[in-house]
Symmetry: D2
Subunit: 333 residues, 4 copies
């Protein structure tokens, strides 16, 4: 039973605490930390575990064997570095850092420490559909992949959403999972702006289209749409030399009523990817029991941030820019 400390008790943090308590068999939450102290104490009381005001204290607690970081994006790197320093495995929600530079520091520190400790919360890699896509690609079912058409649609966006968050917080899921699907790095990226959706906040670039090209010449287009107006909808079609593979829509019942045959579309990620999150934590705990995390690495987190940073600059420059990721170090292969 892995004894876990959770830093950050916001919505996603509480969800992971519940998950590690009620769903995953191999984990036990022994301590939580939260900057909003009242809230944090309440959660600790609910789950009968210790509370620390400072994440650093939680990391230092000898009972805590592994850490989950669910705080604000700009504190991720700080806590992850501290975990590395303490030699404790850490599962950090995405993004790993607010910039490629931050992520790079984590990579360097981990390599310095000489041991894989960091995993990034790219849960889509655990989704049954994406896994089936990857398996089929690797089995050669469609020959070499040539293109990916994808889209990420939210029902609507929060009032504090920014044009950069579209890339760095939402688009980053696509950046990671498609790189993983194809098993290769990006060569260049570009962002197309689109006629604005009048349902989006004034000034927000919404939707945006990310264009990516891999080293081997595979082309990717991803609609990132924060105001779909109808639901949370993730689509992905991989086009290969001999056929295509497509992510399924979730299996929802078929209703024939009122002149239509219809299928529910979920309204947020928590329903859409609930099984992926469960599997992510389950496999994380199992991998640690065998010595080291096997999920998305610090390097993957760095690669995704670097691509996202480049895409934002490319959008501003209104032209494609090279994504200059070094070769994967042997440490991460």
């Amino acid at each position: 039973m892995l004894k876990v400390g959770v830093i950050g008790c916001g919505m996603i943090g509480r969800d992971h605490i519940r998950r590690m308590t009620e769903v995953v068999t191999g984990t036990q939450v022994v301590a939580v930390s939260e900057a909003m102290v009242e809230n944090g104490r309440r959660v600790a009381a609910q789950y009968g575990c210790k509370f620390y005001e400072q994440g650093e204290e939680l990391i230092a607690d000898p009972e805590v064997e592994a850490v989950v970081v669910c705080t604000a994006d700009d504190t991720h790197a700080r806590f992850v570095l501290r975990c590395i320093a303490a030699g404790k495995p850490v599962l950090c929600e995405k993004p790993l850092g607010v910039s490629a530079e931050e992520c790079r520091r984590i990579v360097d520190a981990e390599m310095q420490a000489g041991k894989r400790l960091v995993q990034v919360g790219f849960m889509r890699r655990y989704d049954r559909g994406y896994r089936a896509l990857k398996q089929q690609i690797e089995q050669g079912a469609i020959g070499e992949p040539l293109m990916i058409h994808a889209c990420h649609r939210n029902l609507s966006h929060t009032h504090w959403h920014t044009s950069d968050m579209t890339i760095k917080n939402s688009g980053i899921h696509e950046i990671d999972v498609l790189r993983w699907l194809l098993g290769e790095d990006y060569e260049s990226g570009q962002v197309l702006t689109v006629k604005q959706n009048r349902s989006a906040s004034a000034g927000l670039l919404d939707p945006q289209i990310m264009l990516l090209k891999t080293k081997s010449g595979t082309r990717i287009d991803v609609e990132v749409n924060m105001s779909s107006g109808y639901g949370y909808d993730i689509q992905c079609e991989v086009v290969g030399e001999q056929g295509t593979l497509r992510l399924p829509d979730p299996a929802t019942i078929v209703v024939r009523a009122g002149g239509a045959r219809s299928y529910e579309i979920y309204d947020d990620w928590s329903k859409r990817f609930i099984e992926a999150y469960d599997t992510e934590f389950d496999e994380w705990a199992r991998s640690l029991a065998h010595g080291a995390p096997t999920g998305p690495s610090a390097w993957d987190g760095y690669a995704a941030c670097l691509a996202a940073d480049t895409l934002i600059r490319a959008r501003e420059a209104q032209q494609p820019l090279p994504i200059e990721l070094p070769e994967t170090p042997a440490f991460y292969r």
Copy 2:
């Protein structure tokens, strides 16, 4: 160009006149007849053709080479018999007669005349989907057919609809097309009554379930539902020894909106089977140009009526009854 006279200018009659004038290349409507004289004259004027008060006069017109009968069900047999007597091909809307006995008289008269003249308006045999089912069955794609699950659903029913009409006017389409799909005759039939739909007229048995068994032991269940409440919907799944074949839903655009992915369902047969009707008339005209009709024969009309009559008696008897159709005479093979 086949010169056609149409008896009956109701909704379906006018639709066929339009079809033979505007859609089918090989037909020309030269005369119409209609008991409601005013309406009939108006149609004749619109299409620039002759008008007869009596169907018999129309049949006798030497310019009329072939006849289409679209009158009330209880006059079908009279006009068809007259066409046979006149030696003119006739396409009669279903049902061929109001009873198996009436149909039998037509069969006998046609055999006596020694020439195939009669075709019955079972247009589903011309539907692209049913034809693909039949083709796949005959190619052995699923081995021997063992069962058919089908349903016929109307959006709602007219106020003059009766429990018998459910079998004889709607269900008869299923009786014919499934017999044709399987290429064999029925051995017995049964009707299950169901908890009444409160949207149906008081006293109407709606829905009903027809159960049929073929000579070889294939089982068929058909829901016949006059008050589906949501649309006109025809479904058919043929279960064979190695797989199943299913009629497709019509190809309507995919709408993602309001939390659902949805597809329109048509509200009546005219949209659903428009292409089948067009093909029916086109092939009828072509077959006559080659000498004789090749579509559903008087024998098929008789077989369907006999099965329908038996099903109605079986419903009243609340038990299965044998469907005692003689062997198909060589004349109709």
Copy 3:
């Protein structure tokens, strides 16, 4: 943490041991029993738990708080009765007994004991799709249910499969889940035999069609097909007064290749209902932590067996027979 003893280490037993060890958080397997002693010892060693040659010894073990019965069908009743005598909760794989009489004895014993202890392994009630159907029915989305068209198809059958097993082992899932969906008891049942699938064993009645009628007049037809030839496929459409609801096909990726768009169909129940089994055990453990099981009761097990027994007699009699279930006792309401 519920300490569980498992009687029967066959395929399904081992799967449940794995499930309670690796997937469900609230259960721990502390003892197993198995008639084939070698196999049983091996499983006990693998999971580090006690082994008993006799199920009765396992039930008597004071450490065992609850029991799971996965033995041959004809031993179910014996072990369940022993658990009741010992005052221990028991989750028994379906069917609860080999006859309605056996089930009735369990019901009587449990009522005598004065406490709900028995749950039957009808896992479909935990399937996401069936639950959505039930929720929509109860919310009145389609008005009153009038009919259910269902089918249960296995890829192929074992060589020891019998015509009665089609009803009592496979069909019984449908009997239970549809009774639960509709929330009412059956009035009568009938079985139609079908032209035999030549892929089935000689003499086996395969497929069969079960026809059920509920107290309120809802009609159900269920194809039970042990030799579908293409996969494990469960279908269910509920037809109501204003629309229909249909179980979805599992969400499998869309492959466009070789002139077809295609979706995988699973080949057995373990993939199709894996999530339902997990939920079943999870909710069972939680319900016991709150005092008593809330899943399918001994009465449900009795009701299903009674219907199955009646259907088998009805098949032999070749006519519908009444299903004479007494009113649900207050104890089970």
Copy 4:
């Protein structure tokens, strides 16, 4: 009955001759012309119509009321200009000319003549699915369109296929139909090259991705893929402010066999768009009976060619280029 002369008796020409003879009621083919004289005479004999070695002779024949041009692309403009000079309506297969300049000359000649005579064979505008998309867009079902994701896939390409033909012969369908769907002109275009499909000819850029931006800022991406390896497949999703609309797959029967649920994909355009072609010719004949063609105009043909030419230059320049179409003249509005 419109008396039509057809110039060009290749595959598509013969198909249109058959269509105008057997399917469309308002047309009669009275003369054909074909450079390969033997073939042309054979077709004329088959359909019992006149034969001319020179298209110009056919146009001059006083019996010929309207002309259909189905010759090699580089002769289209010549024959269309001759029809304009003769004051005869002409339906010209796409593309209208081999360059925007050629098309522009036709536009100028037609405006000079002062009468709409030219229609271009963009048959997709007559497809039931595209028409439903356009109707829904215009009814505001999804708010303003923001993006279109489309793809055009051929099973495989001819050995004489060139990288430019991908844009000018195949992509041009998309260029026209999407401009028509949105009801606005393009502002700029770009082409992305992709890792080459090894099934494509050496040196052929296949697939290619066309990116278009409309005047209002709607973004379009179109995969144009000559070697899909699995079928002829046309997809189109319009993403609006409140939802999306998608072209349906053709309605083909559902086969459950061999571990999969599958639907046939057609292998070429003739099956996929057969109904669109029929409607195109039917409406063309009807529109001429009312005075002038109402389908895609010479201006539409010019607009499409101009966009295609620009896209080819943009592909060579590896950057977006403006599509400098003048405002639509009043004559064409």
